[in-house]
Amino acid sequence: MPEQQKVFIAGGTTTPFDYPLNLQIEEMVANCIRQLYKDVPEFHLKDVRDNGMVVYSHFSVHFSHQLTAYWILHDHLGLVGVPHFRIDNGGNTGGSALYAAYALVRAGLADVVPVIGYELMGSVSQSKGSEFIAIASDTRYEAMLGANYTNYYAGLARVFMEEYGLTEEDFAEIAAKNKNNAVATGEKAQHYRKVGNKLTVEDVMNSRLISYPLKKWDCCFMSEGAATVLVCNEQFAKQYSPDYYVEIVGAGLSSCTIRAGDRYAFPGWTERYGEGYPGLGEFAACRHSAEVAFKMAGIEWKDSYKYLDVAEVHDAFSTSEFQIYNALGWCQSITPKQFIRDRMPMMEGEIPTNPGGGLIGYGHPVGATGLMSTVECYYQLAGLISREHRSTDNEVKDAEVGLVNSHAGTGTSISNFILKRV
């Protein structure tokens, strides 16, 4: 029987994120792997052939005009004969694929598991694209209204705002933070490629209404791109990147209702967390998966930021990043309002969040997104920011413990990982 083993990340790469990217999926992914060859010279796909398998991370076949598109990739990479499967879990596709690779290595079923994520989204018009994403909501109900995820999220944000007395400016701070962090990230980040300069809170406040309280700059871009995370056991991690490997010391995955309205009094959550939780304003699946990951890593949920040096979270919207802070237990000893006004998640704050730019700054090609967050967190912990970014303005010096968060639906599936520098 295979034996349990510790799980590590020994490398990671992304393509630039942009819209459209004018690439086919096989060249996007080939670029990622060739970059990995350059960054991690000891790694070779032959190790995957002999000791591993590949987990593909891809959200929507509607966008790829191709079912089982990863069959094309696997073949293209020369990996015929090697086990492969694809994970789709909405916006949490990347996190869930990482979870699958983690589970495979942890269980001892594989020693080297590259997680390869990608998404084409420019294959259809932007409005059709939003509609494609919206059909991850219940098509018999919500999707038929002509609303899309931005509208649902805005409704959830509204409850959160009222509950904690937050203002549009509080969210705009987060949006501006992530856009501006991406300027330091540079060429790979979509905000840098498309806009290039820093934004102010006023810019965010003055941008056009998308769905109150969300304005244009509060939302992530529609993007295309690919990302790869090299997951492996200790032996390969030491062989590949003796100076640059990190351990996955905690992993959690949880779920919530598909329709946000159904979590007003969901029995499973009220049994666990008491009446009124999560309601529509909290992400119970984020809290639950974080609690699981924190427990593995020996971290307390309450004020967990004290144990963390850096976090890359799923900021599809500035408002949802804030709701994630709360679900991660960061606003327990101080109120959410104080948390943002003390500038805790800023580069200079207690817990720099999304230094890489997050979805708002870097981009959101769904299947690649959670992996991009993982790669950015890995760079921070492995001390690779000066090699990978345009400037070190968004480097968290001497970071040892980091959190990666990946998030789907209206909070329908959420994963959290704790990475630790070895």
Partner: protein
């Protein structure tokens, strides 16, 4: 038929000819070539091909059919678990409590009123809804439902919407289709907006360009 299972209709009474004829009214053409375009970006040559691909979906409502039929008749049908008594709207045809072992729920008629739990004022939406902008998307607890349902709230001045306001249900007088687009919410006639606040002024200002944009959009269609 086992009492605790949903019945499976027997297809011997299904009129395939009629169904095929109905489908033929909306022809599906499959892959239809439209365009080839090419160019150079920097020093990279690119080419792209546009292909139209269509499909006609049939949504089969199955056990949810009474709900859809209710909408056609101007009724809101929710469900109630005979074991735990939980009421949900939108309906759940099996109880959501693990302790109830997927008990088949009973259909109950919901009142045409509820309480608005949360909302957003949409300044942008999917293509099918653009002309309705700016509209209010509301999550409403209808009657004694333990779940909120999302639908449009029609109100002349959207900045006046507030949490916990009472709303009523209005059904369309046009042809109904058995989907929640057959109805919408409106403020309860007994409700009156509170005076303008700085937040309301702010939302009103954010809506102004949306009204202008929609005027142009409507002219161009």
């Amino acid at each position: 038929m086992e009492k605790n299972l949903h019945p499976t209709p027997n297809n011997k009474d299904f009129i395939w000819e009629k169904w095929i004829k109905l489908n033929e009214k909306i022809p599906e053409k499959g892959w239809t070539w439209q365009n080839v375009r090419s160019g150079i970006a920097g020093n990279v040559e690119w080419i792209e091909q546009q292909i139209y691909y269509d499909m006609l979906y049939t949504f089969r409502l199955g056990a949810l059919s009474p709900y859809a039929k209710g909408l056609l008749e101007g009724k809101l049908l929710g469900t109630k678990c005979p074991k735990c008594g939980d009421i949900t709207f939108p309906p759940r045809v099996n109880c959501w409590r693990l302790d109830c072992n997927l008990e088949i729920t009973e259909w109950i008629e919901m009142p045409h009123s509820g309480i608005l739990h949360t909302f957003t004022i949409c300044g942008f939406a999917a293509k099918s809804a653009l002309k309705k902008l700016p509209f209010v998307l509301a999550y409403v607890l209808v009657g004694k439902s333990k779940t909120a349902i999302a639908n449009i709230l029609k109100i002349a001045e959207p900045w006046h919407v507030e949490s916990d306001m009472p709303v009523i249900v209005k059904f369309t007088e046009k042809k109904r289709v058995g989907n929640l687009i057959d109805f919408w919410f409106e403020p309860d006639p007994s409700w009156h907006p509170s005076p303008m606040t700085p937040e309301k002024e702010r939302i009103k200002k954010l809506c102004e360009p949306v009204y202008e944009w929609i005027k142009i959009l409507k002219r161009s269609i």
